[in-house]
Symmetry: C2
Subunit: 87 residues, 2 copies
């Protein structure tokens, strides 16, 4: 089964790393604990809507943009044959 | 601020109502309590990834399909001027 929090966590980590930023930096900017952000990125904890918004704010990316990428990854996972050109 | 669980709840309710199904029917099919499903639809409770998957399963819609609609609504909310033809 595809677990949404895993896909969201992977996407948030990818965005952070693409910006060359540390967990410490983003967690401070989002006012969440470093441990919490790390657990969210690893898909171990569900991010509440408010904290997801705070993390997106800290990354300076719209929530819709993150969810668009998440949706693409869900499509890939649900329809692997269609995924070749999905990115 | 846009609250993701409100957008997800609205979408789940819309899908259920489009199928002419009751909270009782879908909650039984998803093996969640009627009260819980009702709170999720009203955006009062975060759905865990597992329960969101169960609800989508009960509605017989792929999670990616629901999240695609959710993303469209997020775009509309974040960029109201672009939303005229978004549906």
């Amino acid at each position: 089964m595809i677990v949404l929090r895993h896909v969201i966590g992977d996407e948030l980590r990818r965005r952070r790393q693409d910006q060359g930023r540390t967990l410490r930096d983003v967690s401070a900017a989002a006012a969440v604990s470093l441990g919490y952000l790390s657990e969210v990125e690893r898909g171990q904890k569900e991010a509440s809507s408010e904290l997801l918004a705070a993390i997106c704010g800290a990354l300076d990316v719209p929530l819709s943009d993150v969810m668009h990428s998440v949706t693409n990854h869900l499509v890939e996972a649900e329809h692997p044959r269609l995924a070749v050109h999905a990115n």
